[in-house]
């Protein structure tokens, strides 16, 4: 009887293992790499206030959210309702990182869709994005009061994700 069942059991085990590996992963490759690390420096000009550049250290002391976007990125406008819901639901500093974009279309995009950001930083050549490990826009990060990245999401943010992950996280971080 073992002659029959043992190979079958081994084969079934292998099938389960391979099927688990084939299942589409919840997050794209490398997505969680930045979580737990210090937020990279951000010393960039601002789209909204060109005379008042902002750095990472200006943002210490309270949790904040960084959203990487571009006017050429179609899914970025899809996640705006979720971002607006986040800002409406609680007091949190939402900072936009305008990635590989130009100022005029970026400003026009904000005017057309409504601007949810407390500040928008300009990353013309994508160097700051690279430091943050940005692979494709949109991407969203939650940074705690000590400047440590606590959460990263690659892709479009949904209202469910904001409600179930980001808001509870901000609450636990005392934001």
């Amino acid at each position: 009887m073992t002659r029959f069942w043992l190979p079958l059991a081994l084969f079934a085990g292998l099938v389960v293992l391979l099927a688990a590996a084939l299942r589409p992963a919840g997050a794209p490759a490398g997505s969680a790499a930045m979580v737990g690390q210090a937020a990279p420096a951000l010393s960039l000009p601002r789209l909204d206030e060109p005379r008042a550049p902002m750095s990472r250290d200006d943002l210490l002391g309270k949790p904040w959210v960084l959203n990487v976007w571009a006017s050429w990125c179609a899914p970025c406008s899809e996640e705006l309702p979720a971002l607006k819901a986040l800002v409406a639901s609680r007091e949190v500093r939402l900072v936009g990182l305008n990635y590989k974009d130009r100022d005029a279309p970026a400003a026009a995009w904000l005017a057309r869709h409504g601007n949810p950001y407390a500040a928008t930083l300009v990353d013309v050549d994508g160097r700051a994005g690279l430091e943050w490990g940005v692979v494709a826009v949109p991407e969203t990060f939650v940074i705690d009061r000590d400047g440590i990245v606590r959460f990263k999401h690659s892709g479009v943010l949904t209202e469910a994700l904001v409600r179930e992950r980001i808001v509870p996280l901000l609450e636990s971080l005392g934001g």
Binding site: P7, L10, A29, G30, S31, A32, A33, M34, Q37, K100, G126, R127, L130, E131, W132, G133, V135, A136
Partner: protein, 132 residues
């Protein structure tokens, strides 16, 4: 006539000097290509950072080159980029708890298969099937 030739020679020299001036030393360029050949382009399937034409791969090549120009070692650069993009960046991921199955899985499967074959062979030697 000779003056004309001289003038065009001078022009050509000036042009070639200008063309050769920008760009990093060939040695750094070669190190950069060797390093980025070990890295998976994260936005395209089955292509390395060294060979991909994706904008992100170009950014990563520039980043690696700038780090080399600042004097960082190969190990420092690979580690810095791995921290930023995760193990998925490297074709040869470092050995850790989560990658142990990746490193030892195939070899252990082979061992299991050899053990099964050895057992079957031994069994048949002891009790040869009637039709052999």
């Amino acid at each position: 006539m000779a003056r004309r030739w001289l003038a065009s020679l001078a022009l050509w020299l000036a042009w070639s000097a200008h063309a050769a001036a920008p760009g990093p030393p060939a040695e750094l360029e070669a190190r950069m290509l060797a390093l980025t050949a070990q890295m998976r382009c994260l936005v395209c399937q089955n292509d390395s950072v060294a060979h991909s034409s994706a904008p992100l791969a170009a950014d990563l090549r520039r980043d690696v080159l700038e780090r080399l120009q600042r004097g960082e070692s190969d190990e420092q650069i690979v580690e810095a980029l791995r921290r930023r993009h995760g193990d998925a960046l490297l074709y040869r991921p470092p050995l850790s708890g989560s990658t142990a199955l990746l490193w030892f899985g195939p070899a252990s499967l082979l061992l299991v298969a050899l053990a099964v074959v050895a057992r079957v062979v031994r069994e048949r030697r002891r009790h040869p099937p009637p039709d052999v």
